[in-house]
Symmetry: C2
Subunit: 111 residues, 2 copies
DNA sequence: TTACATACCTCGAAAACCGATGTATGTGTC
DNA sequence: GACACATACATCGGTTTTCGAGGTATGTAA
């Protein structure tokens, strides 16, 4: 309703860095939702709400950037493990380049 | 409607980097909306829609991070010039530190 | 058996985005 | 004078995105 409060600036880039961060984590090694949430908390410095993460993961699959596979560990609940597809890797590499470009620009401005 | 396509990853961080970028530009020197739009295009690599920028600027003022002042140039339309307040500077400096932290983390992951 | 960590998912209210549209001035050109 | 275009600000409102709350289920430890 009200347009953007501008409080908690940090929260904002966390949001949009999210998809890139997910791709980056999956680029290192396949992972499942919960594990991703833990990894993401370290990278972004804040927890990713599940209501945000899981729909995003479904989108990843729907768009063909990742494939999911159910794995049953000897103990514990079943896990849905995501791996990047070739297309996912292509998107990651492109996005990565663009991100670092912007990152450099913004860094210059901030120094 | 459809949740997040995940296409155009670039667009997403641009969105959330926006407020930080605005603060950063204003931290260098006071500016007005249109000038900001031009500067932002260089930093972020894409134009910021006016429908996004102006409401954001109003929010900046409303939240006390910046003060606006109308200036009448000898020629051309009136300009609304924004300068950071002390609080705006405090937010910028804090956000800047957190951003670079995250930036390093993500950079490590991407390399 | 209570509690907590792991692990997944959906609903829907609220928030944010931004294209379209509108106002107004100054400059260039035919 | 008429027309196009750049500068400059602003709002409306449909579409998109966010994420807290709630739900299901397993394993472990007190």
């Amino acid at each position: 309703m009200s347009d953007d409060t501008l409080k908690d600036l940090e929260k904002r880039w966390r949001k949009s860095a999210l998809p890139l961060a997910i791709l980056a984590v999956l680029g290192k090694a396949p992972s499942h939702g919960y594990g991703l949430a833990v990894a993401l908390r370290d990278v972004l410095g804040a927890a990713t709400p599940e209501g945000t993460l899981y729909p995003l993961l479904n989108g990843l699959e729907r768009d063909g950037l990742a494939v999911a596979e159910w794995t049953i560990p000897e103990s514990g609940p079943a896990r849905k493990t995501y791996s990047l597809t070739k297309e996912g890797r292509a998107v990651l590499s492109k996005a990565s380049a663009q991100w670092s470009q912007m990152s450099v620009n913004l860094g210059k401005l901030l120094s």
